[in-house]
Every structure is written in C-alpha cells, then in structure tokens.
C-alpha cells in the first residue's frame, strides 16, 4: 500500500524529521487561508497522487501569490494527473499540499528498502538528488552508498558517518544526519514499511538537512497491525478492479490483452499468462483464485474478469491438488450460471478426479470447452480470442 506525500510528511513530523510548514487542501476555497497560515510570500503547491514524476507533468508549482495557488487548485482538483509512472488515464487529484518555499543549496538522495540479498533494511544514499536514482546507479555507481542495518543493533554512529561522507555533509550536518538515520529506522520498523524514499533530501541555504519529499510504501502483509495506516488508505488511487479483488481476497492485476485468466496459484497464473503469449495470444489479467477454488470465489473471479470489456474468452486453469476436480467443475458451472457468463469459457482441469470433472463440464449445457491438456486449452483460448 502507498501513502500520499502529505501523509508521509505527517509521519516524518511525528518522528521529529525536518519537513516544511504545510497545509493540505481539498477545495480551492481553503487555499488562501492555507497560504496565510503558512506565511511568507512564496509557496510550493503539489498535486497529491500515488505516482512519481509529478513535477515534469505540471503537478508541482512554485507560486508567488495566493491567487496563483488558487488557480493551480482550480485547475487540478477533481482532474487527473498523467505522469510517466501512471497509465494513460492518470490518477485523480483530490488534495493539494501547500508548502512554504525552501531555499535549496544542494539536493541529495536518501532511501531505505528491505534488501532481499542481505536480508536487512538497507539505506541507500547519494550525493545526486532530485534525479532518477537508477540512472545514477548505472552511470556513476561511486556516488551511491548501500548501508545495511543489523536488526540487533539498529543504525550505529559509524554508519551514519559513512553515509554522510558519500552525501558530502559537513560536521554539523553529519550530526544532524545521525539523528535522522535513527529516527527513520524507527519509523520504518514502527509502520512496517517496505520502502521509504526522500528525493530530494536537501541542504538548505542555512546549512540544515531538510526532507522535501516523502515517498512511503507499506508491506501489505502487515497492514492488519497498522490501524493508523489503514485509515490513510485512498482507494481513489487504486485500480478499481484490483481494489475490488483485494476485498474478496483474490489477487488480480489488469493487463491489456483479451483473454481472461482464472488460475489457482500465483506461479501457475503467471505460467498460464506466459503460455497464452507463447501461442500468440494476449492475457487480459493475472488472477489467482486461491488454492480452494470454491463456487463463491470462482463467481467473484468471473465477475472481475467480465468487468473488463476487452475480454473475449476466459481460460480457467485449475490444478486441483487437495480439492477434487469434480467439486471444482460443479463450482465452475454454478458460478457461470450465477454470473450469467455469455462469452466462451475454456477450462483445463488437472489433478484429483480430473476426468470426472471434465465429464461434468462436457455434459453441461454451458458454452464450455473442457480440455485436460494445458497446451490444447491455451491454443483453443487463443483461437477464440481472435
């Protein structure tokens, strides 16, 4: 799950990390008072969406007057922002962050992730901030430092000094950074983060470190124990079908093809997509219906798949392990009737009682092609999608 920048900054402030004075507005009517409360004569207004690349897309602006800020709010609120990280529909802007303007003398980069290789939280720092860090890693790897944190000790002073050196900080800034590192680690652990990124972390003209951005992702496995984070969820930023699937405990990702896929198991679901592609077709989605594939789950899965108008045929691929295929076949038939599926469905059943299951499907009146062999089933689905 992702947070908005303003939510990330709320958490930063809570942990004593330096962020700009700011206010969040959801209506142009509130912009004037927000500017007055913050004070000064320059502000930065930022459209709040779950995507990077906002600046280049016009979603971030430096303004010299409250009127200009109001104009920005009028333009963006209720509109959709398209950046290189969103799809062509973009993301809905329903709030705007108004911030006091910061005088920047240098832009740096700092992030923390859970690194699979070292199996640690790793901090990544670079003297090159405000740019795409992957490019820095490729072109000038010497400007990046990766520092793993031992869960037993937490971040140590020498590690803060190591990172400070790569960031090019002076003595005073290095001391400030040491405190930041410890607070960021606490924040990371307290809220079960999977990613924390400050790009840019800046040195102000007054010589202080300051967090100009805040990108935070939370480990979805841990959301259950983070009530504060649950309350921050913004469903308008998520793909509606993916959000609906998540409610039914199904894993769904929409793709741009026309063969709907319903598979049990994530690995097999990816394998099925690959097989469709292999035979010249194009999958409309990834969908893991789960190990048990009951009628209820299969019905929900059909509804999700059919909500996509592009879908011309559905390929159901179930490897019945513990659950018998005859029961799965009955579930599929009942679901097709319940949902009213009107496009062709190709079913491949494998595992316990697969023959009986296929027989049940073959004898039904539904428009089902039942094939025990995945190769034939995939080819059939591809043929029907043309």
């Amino acid at each position: 799950m992702n947070l908005h920048e303003y939510q990330g900054k709320e958490l930063f402030a809570k942990f004593g990390l330096p962020v700009s004075n700011n206010a969040v507005v959801t209506s142009p009517d509130d912009v004037l008072s927000a500017c007055r409360d913050i004070g000064g004569d320059k502000w930065v207004v930022k459209a709040q969406v779950h995507a990077g690349g906002r600046g280049k897309a016009g979603g971030v602006k430096l303004v010299d007057s409250p009127e200009e800020a109001i104009e920005f709010a009028n333009h963006w609120l209720g509109n959709r922002l398209v950046t290189y990280q969103t799809d062509s529909n973009g993301q809905l802007v329903s709030s705007i962050l108004v911030e006091e303007c910061t005088d920047i003398s240098k832009e740096l980069y700092l992030s923390a992730v859970i690194d699979r290789g070292s199996q640690r939280i790793v901090f990544i720092g670079s003297s090159e901030g405000g740019v795409n860090i992957e490019e820095v890693a490729e072109k000038t790897p010497e400007k990046i430092i990766y520092e793993p944190i031992d869960p037993l000790t937490g971040p140590l002073g020498f590690q803060a000094r190591k990172i400070s050196k790569v960031l090019g900080l002076d003595n005073e800034q290095s001391k400030q950074f040491s405190k930041m590192l410890s607070q960021l680690t606490k924040l990371f652990i307290s809220y079960d983060l999977s990613l924390l990124e400050i790009n840019p972390l800046v040195i102000t003209q007054g010589g202080k470190l300051h967090c100009l951005d805040a990108k935070i992702n939370i480990d979805s496995n841990a959301i259950y124990r983070q009530p504060e984070i649950q309350a921050m969820r913004d469903l308008s930023q998520e793909d509606p079908r993916e959000a609906e699937a998540a409610k039914s405990d199904l894993s769904y990702v929409s793709l741009d093809g026309n063969i709907g896929c319903m598979v049990n198991g994530a690995g097999l679901a990816m394998g099925t997509m690959d097989t469709i592609k292999y035979f010249g077709g194009s999958p409309a989605n990834f969908l893991d219906v789960g190990g048990t594939a009951t009628q209820e789950r299969v019905s929900k899965a059909f509804k999700l798949i059919l909500a996509d108008p592009e879908v011309k045929v559905v390929l159901v691929n179930i490897f019945g392990g513990i659950v018998r295929c005859d029961l799965i076949a009955e579930g599929i038939l009942a679901a097709i009737e319940e949902v009213g599926v009107s496009i062709p469905v190709v079913v491949r059943l494998e595992g316990n009682n697969a023959d009986i299951g296929s027989d049940i499907l073959a004898k039904s009146n539904a428009a089902i092609e039942s094939l025990n062999n995945l190769e034939e089933a995939s080819k059939k689905a591809v043929e029907l999608s043309r």
Partner: protein, 289 residues
C-alpha cells in the same frame, strides 16, 4: 536416499486442531507420514486424529521426540511459532502460512540461522519425498519415487513439474517448495547443495519466477558447484513491471527481477531452460537422455 525427510521423520504439527492443519494432517497420515504429535495452546492433553495434543512445542519434544515441525498457524502468530520450535531444538521447520510481515521474517531468519535450523517457507507447499513422507499440502497422488529433485518458489507450478516428470516415468527424489516471499527461510542455493550431494537425484528442476535475484545467484552457484544437470523454468515472462503478482516476492522493481534477465543469466551458467511450462518434463527427459 533423499534429502531432509524420509520414513524416519517424526513430525509435529503446530496449530494442529485448526481446519487446514486437520485436513492436511489426515492426507499426510494417509500418505504414510509419521505424525507423532500436535500443538495447540490450551488444548494440551486431548487427542486429535488419535494423536496427542500438547500446549507447547517444548512439552511435545519432551514426550514424543519430534525431529521436524510443520506450521499452520495464522500469519500474525508465525514469528512466535517458528521461534518456539527453534527454541525447543527442532532443526527442520516447515511454515505453510502465507502473509507473514516481512519485518517479522527479517528477525526470524536471523534467529534460525543462528540456531542452525532449516526453515522451509513461509508461503510454501512444503516438502515431499515420494514413497517416504509428505510434510505439506501438495497432492500426494501425482508424485512418483524417482530421480528428479524439484525446487520451486510456487505451489501449483511445482505440481505441474511433478506431474510432467511422473507422466514421463522419471519420478522425483525430493520436492521442496521454498515459498513465494521476499525473505524465504531456505534459498535455492541451500537446496541445490543438498540435491547435488544426494545419490538418488540425477537431475534438478528449478522453478523460479520474477522478482529479486535468487535465480541469478543460484545460476552463479550452479556454474561452480553443481555437476548434475539443472533444468529451469521462470514464470512471469509476460508480467508488467511494478505490480505484485500474487506472491509478495513476485514483483519487478526498479527494472530488476525480470524473467528475461534471469533466463539470460541461467543460460550463461549452463542451465537448461524450459521456455514454456509445458516443456519442463520433456526438457528434463531430453537432458537425462
């Protein structure tokens, strides 16, 4: 021979009286697995499936001497259950549960390494030595005693590999699902090491998927340390970047973890690639000659 489990394995089931544990314990017993006890706090002293239930792993260890434990408890209690089994001296722990917070696994992994415990999973189907013992949720009937060792990050995809190698008469030595989480207890390399040393295993099938760099690291290891033929299939060749494909670990992030990159690296290191999941069995047969 086989690896990690056989007829002598004495299994403990944690979360024993729950519905999933009950279902799969029944299937495992039917397969011939020797389940010596179960643990459900508060239900100690009862019998379930005619097997004694204990309040804690420590009590079970004292009474029935298990040498392996399988865990079916809900995700929020897994850290506790795994470390309880490890603390009680059990050296082989299999965690089936999906959805454990990654930061919990960070701590768990460090502890089990310290205590020299083999943890398989979490978020996995378990481990089976066909004809000997089944510690997991895989369908026993598709397996056949034979010569192919199978390692996989995915459950149902493992079943495909198993079915195909059984249908072709090759059979399996031991099959291990290492699980689809970002931080697995056991890595591909840990299992490759064991299968290389196992007499019964003549070829190794490694089923990977997008996300992380475990397959690339395994490829490097294979090049220098594995003399047996390795056949690999990587799922997710059509997966988009930045989206989590069901498994917590299956995500292409920052351009890393693509199927194409994994396949390239595996080929460079002499691994035989099954381009499609339909070819896992036939490719293995071809390589074995």
């Amino acid at each position: 021979m086989s690896i990690l489990v056989d007829k002598k394995t004495r299994l403990l089931v944690q979360g024993f009286t729950g519905s999933q544990a009950t279902l799969h314990s029944e299937q495992s017993i039917e397969y011939g697995t020797n389940i010596v006890g179960g643990v459900t706090p508060g239900k100690g002293g009862q019998k379930h499936l005619d097997i004694p239930v204990f309040n804690s792993v420590h009590e079970a260890v004292e009474e029935v001497e298990p040498n392996a434990s399988i865990i079916f408890v809900p995700a929020q209690f897994c850290k506790d259950s795994i470390l309880e089994a490890a603390d009680a001296g059990i050296k082989l722990i299999i965690c089936i549960t999906e959805g454990i917070p990654t930061l919990d696994m960070l701590i768990v992994k460090k502890k089990v390494d310290e205590l020299d415990v083999t943890l398989i999973g979490p978020n996995c189907p378990g481990i089976i030595t066909p004809g000997e013992a089944k510690l997991g949720i895989m369908p026993g009937s598709i397996h056949m005693k034979g010569s192919v060792g199978i390692i996989s990050r995915s459950g149902t995809l493992t079943y495909e590999a198993v079915k195909q190698t059984s249908d072709l008469g090759l059979g399996q030595s031991t099959c291990i699902g290492i699980g689809g989480d970002p931080i697995p207890g056991t890595s591909f390399i840990d299992v490759l090491k064991m299968l290389e040393a196992d007499d019964q295993t003549k070829a190794i099938v490694m089923v990977g998927e997008i996300g992380g760099t475990a397959e690339e690291e395994a490829a490097e290891y294979i090049k220098d340390n594995v003399s047996k033929p390795v056949i690999s299939y990587i799922a997710g060749q059509t997966a988009p970047a930045g989206k989590r494909m069901g498994h917590a670990g299956a995500i292409i992030a920052g351009g890393k973890g693509t199927a194409a990159n994994k396949i390239k690296k595996l080929k460079e290191c002499g691994v035989h690639i099954a381009e499609n999941l339909l070819q896992i069995g036939t490719k293995t047969k071809e390589v074995l000659g």
